[in-house]
Assembly symmetry: C2
Homo-oligomer: 156 residues x 2
């Protein structure tokens, strides 16, 4: 499975989230070429400020694999991880984090983002995970417009 193939799964669950009135973020976790889990943001439906797509998918993959050590896994996310999600990936020991849109895209869509680039925080935090950005960035950025056009959500 290529990075683009895996990102398409993250995009698909993001769109499912938009249909459900959730915020426009999706994520998937891949291990040995297989999707382990794929989920969208559920901050609104679960009244959970930590329920970003990445946190949700790390929790889901840990349940599926019955371990909190996700060594060997890659996390795909439609948007550059915020500090919460990057640090969650560090704690989960994922090998790589691959993202599409940038934090600045989410910021422009109205989300109250912390302006901390993932690569800067990873360097400061001496994280061992590898970061790859801009995978299907245009399609991932368009998700914010699709979400606004759907008219069933507001940023937080």
């Amino acid at each position: 499975m290529t990075d683009e193939d895996a990102m398409k799964h993250a995009i698909a669950v993001c769109r499912e989230g938009i249909r459900r009135g959730q915020s426009p973020f999706g994520a998937a976790i891949v291990k040995e070429g297989l999707i382990v889990a794929a989920t969208h943001n559920t901050v609104r439906s679960h009244n959970d400020p930590t329920a970003h797509a990445e946190v949700n998918v790390l929790r889901a993959a840990s349940r599926v694999l019955a371990t909190f050590d996700l060594t060997g896994c890659t996390l795909y996310t439609t948007c550059e991880p915020c500090p919460m999600c990057l640090a969650a990936s560090h704690w989960a020991h994922v090998d790589r984090v691959v993202f599409g849109a940038a934090i600045s895209d989410a910021d422009r869509a109205g989300f109250r983002e912390m302006p901390v680039p993932a690569d800067e925080l990873a360097a400061m935090g001496k994280c061992e995970l590898k970061l790859t950005g801009k995978v299907l960035r245009d399609e991932c950025s368009r998700l914010f417009h699709e979400w606004k056009a759907a008219g069933n959500g507001t940023p937080y």
Copy 2:
């Protein structure tokens, strides 16, 4: 309720976690002088890499208050929040985060901490929350020794 009073609740749930074989971190959330929720780290018991005490208590308080907006709340935690937990506090809109021990204390106990001080990340992230550290720091630091003495956990 003073900061010290509230921190004692976080310390009490931390000790409960140690008794249960969990990692030595506790947290409590206070609103208008009342404890809304108090929980310990459950990374091991729940196989959840994101289940730090702070994330758990933010989720619990959001359930109790039926909102993901914890404006007006203060988060008390026995240890300086890691980037995941500080950013979770930002997303939850808590007014203040009050901590006891320092990240360096957790690091010395063997946890794979990101060496990112909470105040630095809060400044970089333009977070509006207020941070207060070193509240009952000695007692909070001793929790790491109590945990080691209990002999029922290893750091991750």
